[in-house]
């Protein structure tokens, strides 16, 4: 069994209204000095087998085809 974590974030230059709202709320809670907040998504996956190279290639395809919208989002894959 291979465990992997995929993190999907908005590309630089894409406005993130939700991140902005979170940033404002942190300020309202008294956390000063928060320069910027960008929100994203995390996916934890369990893959059958033990072939890490194959897992990474599958995960890459999963990101390209479904997990991320590459028009607006970037992704990173971490296999543990």
């Amino acid at each position: 069994m291979i465990k992997a974590r995929v993190t999907v974030t908005l590309k630089n230059g894409v406005l993130d209204p939700q991140g902005k709202a979170i940033e404002g709320a942190l300020g309202a809670l008294g956390f000063s000095g928060v320069g910027s907040v960008r929100q994203g998504k995390v996916f934890d996956l369990e893959l059958e087998g033990s072939d890490r190279a194959r897992a990474e290639s599958d995960l890459n395809a999963m990101c390209e085809k479904l997990l991320a919208n590459t028009v607006i989002e970037d992704y990173t894959i971490s296999v543990t």
Partner: protein
Amino acid sequence: MKSAIIQLPGLNRDRDMIAALTKISGKAPITVWQTETELPDVDLVVIPGGFSYGDYLRCGAIAARMPVMQAVAEKARKGVLVMGVCNGFQVLLEMGLLPGALMRNASLKFVCREVKLEVTNANTPFTRGYQQGEIIRCPVAHHDGNYFADAETLKRIEGEGQVAFRYAEGTNPNGSVNDIAGIVSDSGNVLGMMPHPENLIEAAHGGDDGRALFAGVLGKAA
């Protein structure tokens, strides 16, 4: 003119769209469930609005991967007219049949109101019932209608006349770049738009500004 309408779990504007197509064309559209792998021989395929798959992952993302959408893409490639409204627009973008993406409204609020649209390009199969530059009324109801495309894509679609509708007179409800409300594919036979023309087609709706869109597509006088 024969039409088909795609149905998926979570869509809730399909009945409005069926009513509009039936009233204006005189013929009910064929309903097609998401698991079908072939579409009937039609001139127009419509993906209606709603919240397919509860907007999970991203609006329209799961719907875009359902089997029927490969058949929709095949129709689009063959030049058949394909139209997506609201969630349907989100699905067409997720399928890659149209450029760009729709993001959370800049206000972060669900907007449900009437806006004004400018017919930016009346020379498409979907807008030929209108005059170029005509301002029409149209309802919107969405949470994720904030159209985004990178600078290069934007330049291309603006230059090629792919912007079919723009929010007019300061009525942009969602922060869409360049006030874009609806776009067509480079081949012109695929339209995606956030507003709901099917909800303004007769006096009982309080107006019929949306009627000319369907009449134009269906090749009938409004």
